[in-house]
Amino acid sequence: MACRPAPPRAPSSRHPRHHAPTGGDCIGPTPRSPTPLTCEEAVGSDAQRRVWRLSGPLDADTVRDFDRQVQRRLPAKSGQLVLDLASVPTIDSAGTAALVDLWRVSQQRGFEVELREAQPDVEAWLSLYRVPLAPPPAAAATAGGFEQLGASVANGVSAMVDFTVLAADVTVSAVYALMRPRKLRWSALLQQASLMGSQAFGIVGLITFLVGLTLAFQSAYQLRQFGAAIYVATLTAISMVREMGPLITAIIVAGRSGASITSEVATMKVGEEIDAMTVMGISFTDYVAVPKLIAIMLTVPLLTLLADVLGILGGWIVGTIYLDIAPQPYLKATVDALVLKDLGTGLFKSAVFAWGIALIGLYHGIGVRGGAQEVGRATTQSVVSAIFFIIIADSAFSILFYVVLG
């Protein structure tokens, strides 16, 4: 096969030992074997008992030949097939598998296969492997539409239950910890908070500044037609403080800190670190989850304040430069427009968003099963669900504040 070309057909004479692949590197079939496999009808063959003589190596390179010459010409039903292997000098596991596949077909169709005159080296391969007698199982039937729908509803419900349990546990523990601040891990908490804050500081500031700028431009274009350019200040201030500030900050934090919470917790989970904490009697909730929750709920409202200020600054720049409103009246209009309630609802919303980001991050992190590659998937999932949560919660707040509470 691979290294030495098999001798031309010599059906009756066994090859001397040294022709057999004793050399280690003769086992693999690379480089490509120049010797093809041929199959021909032997003398004394008839329709009931076919005798086919194979010549040439039966290995990974010639399995295609075998497939073409043997598999495709197999008897359709009962009968007997004899394969004469006397001129097959070498075989490998691919060739062996091809013979198993042939046997499998014979079982289905109900004919018999007999191997004959296998050389010792070939025989060694054939006796080396065991195969399960049962045919390979058919691919699992894919679930029908109803089944899939049911399964996804059931999954959704159980996920909601799991999330609620986790959320309640961590939230209650956090409240408890705040009531007994001595036991809180302040160093971890402050480190987390400063990390989250400093990482998000620049990008939150830049993006909300640009959003404020854009808002002012867009509204100015409309309002100028009515000679109401000063209302740009009012509009920018209210939409930044009540809506855009909390929303944009939360989405950025979800992408940064939410993802990092998930990947950190998921890595701990995969590395059995959470199990190790459990058996050491250290509470994962108190030690890991609570500091993260409190840290993020402190950080996000602060970042939101920053966002509000920079957004208003963006509007102010447009107002003074593009709309020729004097700086002082613009600021006065801004301050007049805002009441404390606007700031309060904005900050309250941002704290709720932060709560959601932390818990969704923790939930996806803890829920990881399997190996390292699951960490990435969980992280992506976490960011998507967190942003989804933020938008839903924001709509709910709009209804609550404007419709219900007036």
Binding site: P21, T22, G23, G24, D25, C26, I27, G28, P29, T30, P31, A60, V63, R64, D67, Q71, D92, S93, A94, T96, A97, A98, V100, D101, R104, V105, A124, W125, L128, Y129, R130, V131, P132, P136, P137, A140, R369, G370, G371, A372, Q373, E374
Partner: protein, 270 residues
């Protein structure tokens, strides 16, 4: 397989310092040594996975250092490697893991691939786990699946990194039997890195003992063990020979005759 003057360095940390070693065709050669002795690094150096600074590796009659990428790949295709933790692809089932090299490097009909995969799985007694994902397997099962994958292309040369680490004695013995079978029936050359004495005694034709980045002893099993080299004798007698003069027991710190106590600790240590 021949290694000449192999030097492996991570940054300034020289892990292997001029290793010479030979592996004969059709033998099982065990690389042994204590933890941190560089035996796994030697394996990685042979495979070109560690930063080789100097020296040459000759594998299957080819000098690996002088080959281009294609040539190197051709050699690697004829080499099977069982990594310490299996290194199965987590996104594929066990059967797909084993079929991967077959699909990539061979042109085989589907039926043949299917039967080939089942043959290899039966060989490592893992037929029941065909459609499971690596994450759903135990450590031992994962290792056996990885061995099946390493054997998928019938490599003439097989490397095993700690094949029995983390396995129960029964599975470990089965694995040893399988390695012996591969050598006897398929004339495979096997390089095994291990520190399991039972496994070494069961399978090794010859040994390479590594310590401190150097080859301490090399040769047929009986010859190495009979040579009276202290590190080898200590290893087989399960004695520590790594205790240094710098560490001593805490109680020795508080004893008057510190040197005396330290000496006795080092002799009896392990």
């Amino acid at each position: 397989m021949r290694v000449r003057g192999l030097v492996v360095r991570y940054g300034t940390n020289t892990v292997l310092d001029g290793i010479d070693a030979t592996v004969e065709r059709g033998e099982i050669r065990v690389i042994l040594g204590g933890s941190g002795s560089g035996k796994s690094t030697l394996l990685r150096g042979m495979l070109g996975l560690a930063p080789v600074v100097a020296g040459s590796v000759e594998m299957l009659g080819e000098n690996v250092n002088e080959l281009d990428d294609d040539g190197r790949q051709a050699v690697m295709r004829r080499t099977g490697v069982l990594f310490q933790n299996g290194a199965l692809f987590g996104s594929l089932t066990v059967a797909e893991n084993i079929a991967l090299p077959l699909r990539e490097h061979r042109d085989l009909p589907e039926g043949t691939i299917r039967e080939l995969v089942r043959m290899k799985l039966a060989q490592v007694s893992l037929s029941h786990a065909e459609h499971r994902y690596p994450a759903e397997l135990s450590g031992g099962m994962r290792k056996r699946a990885a061995l099946a994958r390493a054997l998928a292309l019938d490599p003439p040369l097989l490397f095993c990194d700690e094949p029995s680490a983390g396995l129960d004695p029964v599975t470990s013995t089965e694995l040893d039997q399988l390695i012996l079978l591969l050598r006897d029936r398929l004339h495979m050359t096997v390089v095994v890195v291990t520190h399991e004495l039972a496994s070494i005694e069961a399978i090794a034709d010859s040994l390479i003992m590594v310590g401190g980045g150097k080859v301490i002893a090399e040769g047929p099993m009986a010859q190495v063990r009979g040579a009276g080299i202290k590190a080898v004798d200590d290893f087989f007698a399960r004695r520590s020979h790594t205790a240094t003069a710098d560490d001593r027991t805490v109680s020795a710190l508080f004893t008057a005759g510190v040197t005396e106590a330290a000496r006795s600790t080092n002799q009896g240590g392990g």
